[in-house]
Each structure stands twice: as C-alpha cells, then as structure tokens.
C-alpha cells in the first residue's frame, strides 16, 4: 500500500503539484481516450506516495520514477501501447478507475475481498509484510500487537493495517490512530504521540532511512499483496494483464524490476510459484499468510478474509461506530464554534474600538487566517508546532477550526456592529450611558440579532469542515464513513447514512436559528 504522503508540502502545495502533473500528462496525451485505446495505456497512481512506488524524478520533476512506473511500462510495452501516467489521490484510485479516468490503478493497491468485489483485480504481483515500527528506546519491550494493549498505534486510515488495528482494538485493547498519509505516523512516533506504527515494510524501510531513532520489529504481523485494479467491466483487459504479469514472473523481468528498487525478498518466489501454479489468488494469499521463519498468533491473511458485509448487516455493524463518530463531529463543532464566537467577539470589538496597533494586529490575523487554507493551518498547528508545543489531536483540531472560524465570525460581528446606526449610539450617550453600557445594552444586542443568520450558516459550514481534522488522526463522521466505504467496497450505503447524519445535525440548527429570530422580533416590554 502506498498512500498520500505529505512531507513538507501539505494542502494547497500538494494540490498545485497534482494539478501541474495532471496538466503535464494531459498535454502529453491530449488525444488519448479514457481508459486504454488510442495507442496509450493510461495508468493511475498518487505521485506523492513517494519512493519506491512512484515519485517525481529528482532529475526531471516533470517525469515520475518508481517500481510501479517500471511495471506500467512493462505491461504497456507488452500490450503494444505507450504508458501514460495519470496522477490521482490515493484514496480516489478505486473510484477513479471505475469511472474510466485510466485503465488500471498500479499504486500498491492491497488485495482484499472488498476490492475484488467492486473491481477487477489482477493477480498479485508483490508480497509485502505488515510490520511494527517503534522507538529505538523501546526495543525489546514490544514484540507483537498484543504488547500494545491500551497503547496508541498509528497507521494509514482505510488500509489493511488499519483494519488489523481495528480488530486488535476489539481483541487486544490496542488504540488505533488513523492518519491520512504515511509519513506523519513516523514523525508522531518520534514525538511520542503514538507508541508504534503498523505499516507495509516498504514504507517502514523508507521511514527508517529518513528518521533516526526508530526500529522496525523484524517479525511481520501479516502478509498482504499488491494488485492492479481495473473497472469491473474491464475483465478482458485484466485477463490480458494477468497473462503478461505471469509471463513476466516466469521470464524474470518482474524480478529484475523489484531487484532494481531493492524490493526483492524471500516472500516473492513463494508468491511467484503460487501465482504460476494457477492457484486462485485468495487461496494463494492464504497459503502465504504465515511469514517465513516465524509462526505467531497474528491475523492470517488480509483481515478482510471474510466476505464483505452488504446491505442491512453492514448498516447494523457500522452504525454504532458512525454514531460515535457523529458525536465526535458534534462535540468538536460545538466547542470550535464556541471558541470561534468568543475569539470573534474579541477580535471584532478590537477592530471597532481598538487603537491603531490593535487594529493592525487583528486585521493581520483575520487576513492571514482567511487568506490561507484551513488544512494548512491544521497542519502547522499539529505537525509544524510539534517541536514547541505538543497539542493532542483533538485539541489541535478544536483550536485550529476555532481560530480559523473566529476570523470569519469576527468579520460578521464587525460588520454587524457597524450596521447599528451611529445615531442610536449617540442617543444612548446623550442619555448618560457609558461606552461599556452603550456596547452591552444597545450596540451588542442589535449586532447579535444581525449576526445570527450568518452565524448559523457558519456553524453548518463548520459542521462539515470538521471533516478536515481527519488529517490530524481524529476519526469523525466523514472519516468513519470512508473507512466503512473502503471496507465494504461501496459508497452507497455509507454515503447515504453519513448524509442523513449531517442533515440530522444541521437541519435542527437552522430551526433553532429561525425560532430565535422570530422570538427576537416579538415585542419584549
């Protein structure tokens, strides 16, 4: 598995990079049809996955390199086509291939029954190990997942490793922590926010090269397999690619690619013999489930070994976790809004009543906050400031959203304060009210009434923006829904449930706001 990888460039920068790559690839093959055809073999992956999967070529950043690039070239070559790379977010690969953006997703896609149910998957072409990485200092203290009872173990959300952690949560009391990328789990491990990372050995190896002071337990927790994914109705092409992959296993060209990238190991010949023996892939997976050398009590193969749930049973199974996530969303939104209102009132008052310096500082805050993406702010708060202040994820999410929305709230309050006629303020002053009383009795209450409708709007927006905090490992409603969807291989039921829950939260809010407005309109003598 490879995933959205953010190192120095989160949020906007990442998006820009993606767009640039997309522009380049479209410029290169403007006449290409979606999917295969037109002499072009379009394949998709997330270029931020990084080495050894796919990364921008340091020598020529307009090109990508990686073992998946070589693999795509091999397949394209044997199909008689020209490979064309399509950059896509990792989490969107399944959906993107289904709608025909490219013929195949080659991106360290894990084999799973859910994926096989929803898409056409190729034979497995690589066996990877799920491994546990810990701090050097803890070496000897932990050996298996069972040692992490009551401890926080991080991984990439929606991955096979995350599924294993969810199972370990039930069976062993491990606390899973979900990340949106595969770099920050390791930096958080160094920071002590989590005690271990469970991820593919390719990613762990890369982290070991990058970070000092971490140690990967050599014994694997499980073995998984990478497959190519195609649209369900593209089984014919999948069969041709299976033939090509099997031929490449036989003639050693696949081995050459993995050797070139330093990925060849003892697991691969076993995978090769199983695939070439024509075993059903899921059987093959089961047969290799025990990592060579050590037999330990670990989940036997991909944790989704059972057939994915559908329909009502799926709803029943996932509803409790969705409701729990919805509670997180509500609590986070309410607390963030409270913070936003409190800070917003202070900022607005400062901008209306303050001196030149106060006004300049507060204007700077508002412009900086409104002019940069909230995602960037969350990253800076959680990861960027981690060396100085280590905020827990929920607190960072609360503060990040709260301070971001405070800028917008302050603008609402400022314009509402300024909308109260100056004449009323003067009338109040002439009557002998102090400035404080003018604010508290005349200006503030009227401004609040003016601000109510836009505030309700903002709160509804905040409810939905709270989904952004999944990048800080907080599992709220949207994150839980995507985990659910990845599990059962369909967005239909999880999406509908999730939408119903958001509506269930936002509609009453609008109602409360309308009632308040109606109440305030009534005479109060």
């Amino acid at each position: 598995m490879l995933a959205i990888r953010r190192t120095e460039a989160p949020g906007g920068c990442r998006l820009i990079g993606m767009l640039l790559l997309a522009a380049l690839s479209f410029a290169a093959g403007a006449d290409a049809q979606p999917g295969q055809g037109g002499g072009v073999f379009r394949w998709g992956c997330d270029p931020e996955g990084g080495a050894p999967y796919v990364e921008a070529d340091p020598a020529d950043p307009s090109k990508v390199i990686g073992y998946e690039v070589d693999l795509a070239a091999l397949i394209a070559n044997r199909l008689g086509l020209t490979p064309q790379f399509v950059p896509v977010q990792f989490a969107s690969i399944d959906a993107s291939v289904r709608r025909g953006d490219f013929a195949i997703g080659l991106c360290g896609m894990e084999d799973s029954p859910a994926r096989r149910g929803a898409l056409s998957a190729t034979v497995p072409y690589y066996a990877f190990r799920e491994v546990i990485t810990i701090r050097d200092a803890d070496r000897g203290k932990y050996h298996t997942l069972a040692n992490f009872s009551g401890r926080r173990v991080g991984t990439l959300g929606g991955s096979m490793a995350y599924e294993m952690l969810l199972k370990a949560q039930t069976d062993l009391g491990v606390i899973p922590v979900s990340y949106d990328d595969d770099v920050h789990p390791y930096s958080d491990l160094m920071l002590g926010r989590i005690d271990a990372v469970l991820l593919d050995h390719l990613i762990a190896d890369r982290a070991m090269r990058r970070e000092k002071g971490i140690y990967t337990i050599p014994e694997a927790v499980a073995i998984g397999y990478y497959v190519g994914v195609l649209a369900k109705d593209n089984a014919a092409l999948r069969d041709r690619i299976d033939t090509i992959l099997q031929a490449a296993m036989r003639d050693g060209s696949l081995e050459a690619i993995f050797r070139k990238w330093g990925l060849w190991n003892d697991d691969q010949p076993k995978l090769r013999s199983w695939v070439l023996a024509g075993h059903d892939v899921t059987t093959a997976a089961a047969g290799l489930s025990q990592p060579p050398g050590r037999a330990e009590a670990s989940p036997p193969s991909s944790p989704g070994g059972a057939a994915p749930l559908t329909g009502l049973p799926a709803v029943v199974r996932y509803l409790p976790s969705l409701l729990a996530a919805a509670v997180i969303t509500i609590v986070l939104s309410c607390l963030s809004m409270a913070l936003a209102v409190a800070v917003g009132v202070v900022v607005a008052s400062g901008r209306v009543y303050g001196g030149a310096v106060t006004r300049a500082v507060l204007t700077g805050y508002v412009e900086l906050t409104r002019g940069t993406p909230v995602l960037l702010q969350l990253f800076v708060l959680y990861y960027g400031l981690a060396e100085f202040v280590r905020l827990p994820a929920f607190v960072a999410a609360l503060v990040g959203l709260g301070l971001n929305y405070a800028a917008y709230e302050s603008e609402i309050y400022r314009s509402a304060l300024e909308a109260v006629p100056k004449g009323q303020l003067e009338a109040a002053r002439v009557l002998g009210l102090s400035e404080r009383q003018v604010f508290a009795l005349v200006r503030g209450p009227q401004a609040l009434r003016l601000a109510l409708a836009p505030m309700t709007n903002d709160f509804v927006a905040l409810l939905k923006d709270s989904s952004l905090v999944s990048v800080l490992t907080v599992v709220e409603l949207t994150k839980q829904t995507s985990i659910f969807a990845a599990n059962i291989g369909s967005w239909v039921i999880p999406g509908a449930l999730c939408a119903a829950m958001y509506l269930g939260m936002s509609l009453p809010l609008s109602r409360v706001a309308r009632n308040l407005e109606a109440k305030w309109k009534a005479p109060t003598a």
Partner: protein, 263 residues
C-alpha cells in the same frame, strides 16, 4: 463669562464658538444665550451649522474655540468633554434627533426606562412607572409595548421625547422635529412643547418651519454661514426680516410650499 447657573436666568450661553470639520469651517463664531424656561427656535439654511451647534452643546462634537456653558457646566474647546464634566453635562442636556434613533430592539417603554435604570441607578419599578407616565403624557401610553418599527413617525417622535425627558434634563435640544409631521400632528407637538416650558424646561429647537416658529416659539435665532445673523421675536423677525439670509430662508421654504400662510 458670567455663569449660567440660572441666577441671571441664562441656561445656555455660547461665546465665539468656532468649529472646523476637515477643511470646512462650520461654525465661525456663534454667540447666543437661551434663558431658563425659554422656547427658542434656531433657524437657518441647510448647512448653516444649526445641527452642528446642537451637537456641540450635547457634547457629541468638539468645538475648536470659544466658550459653551449649560446651567453651570462649562465645556472646554479642543476636545470632547470627559468625566466628570461629561456626567454633569448629561444631566443638563437632552436631545431628540431628527431620525429619533430609538433603540430598535427594545419596546417603547424599555427605550424610556433604559437610561434612568442603567445610567442613573433608579429602581427598575420606579423607572418603569415614570416611563409609563411620560408616555401617557406624550399621548403614546397605549403604544408602550410596541417596537420602534411598529410606530408611526409621530409616535416614534413622542417616544423619543419621553425618552429624553426620562432623565429630566433642564435643556432639551430638538433637531427638525416637524420635518415628518402633518399640520395636525405639528400643532399637537407645538402644544406639547409649550407645556414643557411651562414646567420650567428650556427648549432649543432647530427647524426650517417658520409657521411653527411663529406659532409656538418665544424667540428665534437665525444662523447663516456659521454665525448668528439675526434674532428676536418670531413675529417681528419673520415678518420683517432684516438679514438677506433670513429673507432667502423664508423665500425658500414658501417656494417649497411647506408653509400654511402665503405672505
């Protein structure tokens, strides 16, 4: 400057009051006196400085030079009054604005008792009783629980007068009180204001309405280009204006057809 403590019967005294707003001279040296219990009309063309003068007296705008005193409270040029002068001034001067500026989120009754309770610490029940009494006196007692937006222009004005009177200031300033009133309402207002002066209150009313002035004011002061140019008995000044500005004023208002009489 002699006092304005009522001993000599003068409640408001202005001497050489100058006020500059940006590059424009608004008041170029206003000299005037208003006696205790007098109903004085302040007339003049638009832009002549009437409203600005009222605002300076109410402590809403700083004047640059000269002297201003209200019932023993002296205002200094160059800055807005500060405590304790400001507090003393607030007890002396009430103001009714042209647009009334009632507090939109409060009922008529709340508008009236707000300042007595919060600014002067009067017991809420007592203040509310007095507020009802004032609204009754102004003829809008039945509208006590209405919100400002539910009031007609005339009703809102009477609530605004009640609000200004609630803190019992000896001097009441009014800006264009007849601007939005029909003739019948205007006569009602005139009667109300005369009633206030018989209670000993002093009125300084800026207006364009020479018929109103003729009918109700004790004295008229005409301002033009930031100065007092003519003053005296309304019948005399308005029937036989001496200053060109007064003549122009009368000509304009009658050409607009706002007066009852065509002289």
């Amino acid at each position: 400057m002699e006092g304005t403590n009522g001993v000599d019967g003068v409640l408001l005294r202005a001497r050489g009051v100058q006020l500059r707003r940006g590059a424009r001279d608004v008041l170029l040296g206003v000299d005037l006196e208003v006696g205790s219990g007098e109903f004085v009309a302040l007339m003049g063309l638009s832009g002549g400085g009437k409203t600005t003068f009222l605002r300076a007296v109410a402590g809403l705008e700083a004047f640059d030079r000269g002297q201003l005193a209200v019932d023993g409270v002296e205002l200094q040029p160059g800055m807005l009054p500060r405590q304790p002068v400001l507090g003393a001034l607030r007890r002396k001067v009430g103001m009714v604005f042209q647009s009334h500026y009632l507090f939109e989120h409060m009922s008529a009754l709340q508008n009236v008792w707000l300042a007595p309770v919060h600014a002067y610490g009067i017991d809420r029940g007592e203040a509310e009783g007095r507020a009802r009494q004032l609204l009754d006196q102004m003829g809008v007692g039945a509208r006590a629980s209405a919100l400002p937006r539910e009031l007609s222009g005339g009703e809102a004005q009477r609530v605004a007068i009640a609000r200004a009177l609630a803190v019992d200031p000896p001097l009441l300033l009014m800006d264009e009180p007849t601007a939005s009133l029909d003739p019948a309402r205007r006569d009602e207002l005139g009667g109300t204001l005369m009633g206030l002066t018989t209670d000993g209150r002093t009125l300084l009313v800026a207006t364009h309405d020479d018929d109103f002035v003729r009918d109700y004011a004790d004295r008229v002061i005409v301002m033009a280009e930031g100065r007092v140019v003519e003053q005296g008995d309304p019948q005399q000044v308005l029937t036989n204006p001496q200053h060109p500005a007064t003549r122009q004023l009368l000509h304009q208002t009658h050409a607009r057809g706002s007066g009852r009489r065509v002289s």
